[in-house]
Amino acid sequence: MASLLHAENISKSFGPIEVLHDVSLDLRAGEVHAVIGENGAGKSTLMRILSGHLSPTEGTLTLDGRPVRFAGPVDAEAQGIVLVHQEILLAEDLTVAENVYLGREMKRFGFVDDRAMREATRAVLAELGTGIDPDIHVRDLSIADRQLVQIARALLVPHRVVAFDEPTAVLTPIEAESLFTIIRKLRAQGVAVLYISHRLNEVKAIADRVTVLRDGRLVANRDIEGLEPLEMARLMVGRDMSKLYPEKPATSSDEIVLTVRHFSVPGHVEDASFALRRGEILGFGGLIGAGRTELFEGLLGLRPGQGSIALRGSSVRFKDAREAMAAGIVYLSEDRKGKGLLLQQNLRVNLTLAALEKFVRGAVVNKAAEEAALDSAIRDFDIRARRKDMLAGQLSGGNQQKLLLAKMMLADPQIVIIDEPTRGVDIGTKQQIYTFIATLAEQGRSVIVISSEMQELIGLCHRVLVMRNGTIAGEVADSNLSEDAIVFLATGVHEERAAKIAAGHA
Amino acid sequence: QDKKNVTIGVSIPAATHGWTGGVVYHAQEAAKQLEKTYPGLKVVVKTSPDGASQANALDDLTAQKIDALVVLPFNSDELTDPVRAVKKRGTFITVVDRGLKDASIQDIYVAGNNPEFGRVAGKYMADNLKSGNVVVFRGIPTVIDEERVVNFEKALEGSGVKVIDKQYANWNRDDAFRVMQDYLSKHPKIDAVWASDDDMALGVLEAIRQGKREDIKFVLGGAGMKDMVKRVMDGDKMIPADVSYPPAMIATAMNVTAAQFFTDAPMRGTYVLNAQLITKDNAKEHYFPNSPF
């Protein structure tokens, strides 16, 4: 098969740091080409080079056999190469339809044709299995919905190469399944698809070929035939990855630390009640928009909500996150860019922000102690920062997640609520995070894991509560802990049928 | 007479409205003309937008080693000390218009007379209206404005003329227009307007013209802007008079200061330029068609 887009000996340096070294990649029409690698391996950087966002320090790109240099992403788009970014790149103040058509508005008599754009947007969103209202402002959407909007935007550009940078990290399996349907359709149309994911099962299911990067270098380029996820993980991480989930620590006691009764968050959650035990890992599952995030934001005083909360038997009420933290509860937001990290500040400032009092000596912040904490955080959480003084925004996505974990752990909480703990995290790091969560439970702390990855909930949690439409639909535990049980509670229907609904065949 | 090298610094407010604009113009003209008349004389004119900057400008002028300073202070209270500091270096001081708190600082004082300005206007109102309602336009809140208004009201005491409203219009035409429109809505009967300044009078006139109000007999401005003097001269009914407050006083001050250095006559003392009532009879003496003001 002829190569459509060919990258030859690409190297890329940011200042003196080389993040890609001598990487070649050959992309053919009508194939799905997966690029995998650890966090910080350089996948996103490679995508940005291929789509004109960055220019390579060395090496050449060839399109249809002719060497090209993209003046920028707009130029690349004009030549049919679009990228769905790993981070959400949308204008929050514009509506969904306005974002989808930004920069190439449909016009009628010289004016923007909002109706046509709205309808086209609605159609492509429906194809993605979502009913997002095209007139909603992006700022009012959840991250998952924003991701879908980004994908919709890419699909509405005339394209020959579509690169997806971790599109499913924020999607639930059902949305992911509709995306795969679309990807298969693209492949059938002769479009070349680049696909990055840390979910290796997905890669196995969708890809034709796989390129593996490690530390900015090309490690392998294989056909999917005969390449199993376990082997992919080994190629990425360089060690054997057969055991992803740690042993579930035995819940040490029946002591209940947190009781929530009849809690409501106006517009999002109604009448939620649950209890959390000491040393327990409690999962929260459900579809996007089920209101899990809002429930916990409401509990921690981050948004208005009513209901009763009892912490170790005594009734509490948190006005803001500060009070909750003082009471030993921390919440790690799913939106690490918008609510988790100060992207324009360095790692040290980010790390100590939530627990700054611990670093105050006399009246001033002790920088040396902060540096020491950063060193140990980099070590303990395996944060791959090439330099200690880089900005949080320059970390790769997975490493940002690790930094956020490290930051919140500095507050030494008794109850940890982690929203989407492994979103965008590579398999090696995932294992580290799971082990870490298990360790927390072993230490007698309680952990709540909100996750859209059912495997994760099953492998990690003692119990899983499933939310649907703002209410807690039920609980699965022990032997009942299965994907089908969770999907049933989350949707009210069984898995295959849910997938069909999502794909619009029902 | 041997050739002397003399530098005179002139510090005046920036041209932020008609009258100060006139001051700047006259200062410049006088500077040009004096430098021509007295070879060896250098005149440096500096404008400042507020009291603090004027104090700064005085510092900077002294840094240039001036022999004499002609200053029209923004504000008597604020600039007394800074001018005193200049005086301490042995500089010859001429103060214009607004007297310093400490009269011993100045060698020459060319005085405008703000209380008199208000009194003349008030007396004119009392004499010509006998009784009736007057609305008052205030300038920018400053001592000058306060002295004028207080004495205006004092002059009305005992007459049948009543001040029914006072508002600040900042010596600005647009603000005066706005306030006059509102006065017209608010007061069904206004007999005369004391605009207290010719710039403001112009705005007032437009508002009256637009409102088509017949009850207002006249508008009294002040300062002697050439357009207004011309109207007085031409017998405009709405502008029967004006009160002079000539910006050219700065030129007078510069002239006597230069004379101090280049002629033998000692020039110390006070020169009072009193506010005068300009009427049809004496308007010619106050009309300078070439002045920008």
Partner: protein, 332 residues
């Protein structure tokens, strides 16, 4: 299933959006009621027409400011620019000498061109120099103001030809169907502004740049061109305001347009546009401009505020008006 859930949540948001857009108008109505209570003369047609007519300059300028601000910029130079354009226009009219419509049109054309050029200068320095618009326009504010003072040689620039003034007067004092011309002009400016901002791709791009410049750039929005154009529009709006301003008093002084920039920005913000960019509300801006003028009017009409304290009450009313708006928006 998911469908219905999504639908049902979008309803209340739609409503709150409307509240946000409506709140300046509600504040306006509350003020009118307050005014009527304070002084019965307030509600006379002539007083209200006066007030709205007077707000025309700021409203027209603020329409331009809505573009600049919603695009993430700021223009502090508009007041000085107005003075400069007015001065230059009058000088041109005086130089041209005639007293016919064609002279007038020449002067008006020159004003518009000058406005566009001043705006272009601001825009180019901001975009190419990559300097904070605050600093750029503070600099040009000084430059424009100085140029007027220099043109006026410290004095006043007056339209000398009396016939021309008479010819031109109706542009401020005239009425069409009982509505003063300035009101018609500012409604037209707002309507055109609204179409530009809401119905064209240019307007969409302005909002996108103000919302997130990076996103706009990746989406192929011509950042520099759009941003520069917002300043040009601002300049043209200032020129239009000047066209209505000059016939009123027939002169320009060094104090013309002083602090108009603050008033224009206040009108924009009171109208619901966010200073950080990304939201633009043309009609709210117009309401904001009227609110400002109304507050000043009520101050003069009321009898219980000492002239010394007018500014204090005015400041307090604006803050309270904003508080009312905020609580309207929250208590949906």
């Amino acid at each position: 299933m998911t469908e219905t859930a999504l639908r049902s949540t979008s309803q209340p948001r739609r409503f709150s959006l409307d509240m946000r857009a409506l709140s300046p108008f509600i504040a306006l109505i509350v003020l009118m009621i307050a005014g009527a209570l304070i002084n019965p003369d307030f509600l006379t047609a002539s007083n209200l027409l006066n007030v709205v007519t007077r707000s025309a300059f700021i409203a027209i300028i603020a329409v331009g400011a809505t573009f600049v601000i919603s695009g993430g910029g700021l223009d502090l130079s508009v007041g000085s620019m107005a003075a400069l354009i007015a001065g230059a226009m009058i000088l041109i009219l005086n130089r041209a000498g005639g007293a016919d419509a064609s002279t007038l049109l020449l002067g008006m054309g020159a004003a518009l061109v000058l406005g566009a050029l001043c705006g272009l200068a601001n825009g180019l320095i901001v975009t190419f120099g990559r300097i904070e618009p605050f600093i750029v326009t503070l600099g040009t504010m000084g430059i424009f103001r100085s140029l007027v003072i220099w043109l006026a040689a410290g004095g006043t620039i007056t339209l000398r030809n009396a016939d021309l003034r008479e010819l031109y007067r109706p542009a401020y004092f005239g009425t069409v169907a009982g509505i003063p011309v300035p009101i018609l002009v500012f409604l037209a400016a707002a309507a055109i502004g609204a179409i530009l901002l809401y119905k064209t791709s240019f307007g969409r791009h302005v909002i996108a740049i103000g919302s997130n410049e990076d996103v706009a750039r990746y989406s192929g929005v011509p950042i520099w061109r759009v941003r520069t154009l917002t300043y040009v529009i601002q300049g043209i709006c200032v020129a239009i305001a000047v066209l209505v301003y000059v016939p009123r008093l027939g002169s320009a002084t060094p104090t013309t347009g002083l602090l108009w920039e603050l008033q224009a920005i206040t009108a924009v913000v009171v109208g619901g546009t966010a200073l950080r960019g990304g939201i633009g509300r043309i009609w709210g801006t117009v309401a904001g401009a009227v609110i400002l003028e109304l507050v000043a009017n009520i101050m003069v009409l009321s009898n219980f505020v000492s002239e010394f304290l007018v500014g204090a009450v005015q400041g307090a009313i604006i803050i309270i008006a904003m508080l009312v708006q905020r609580s309207l928006q929250r208590g949906r």
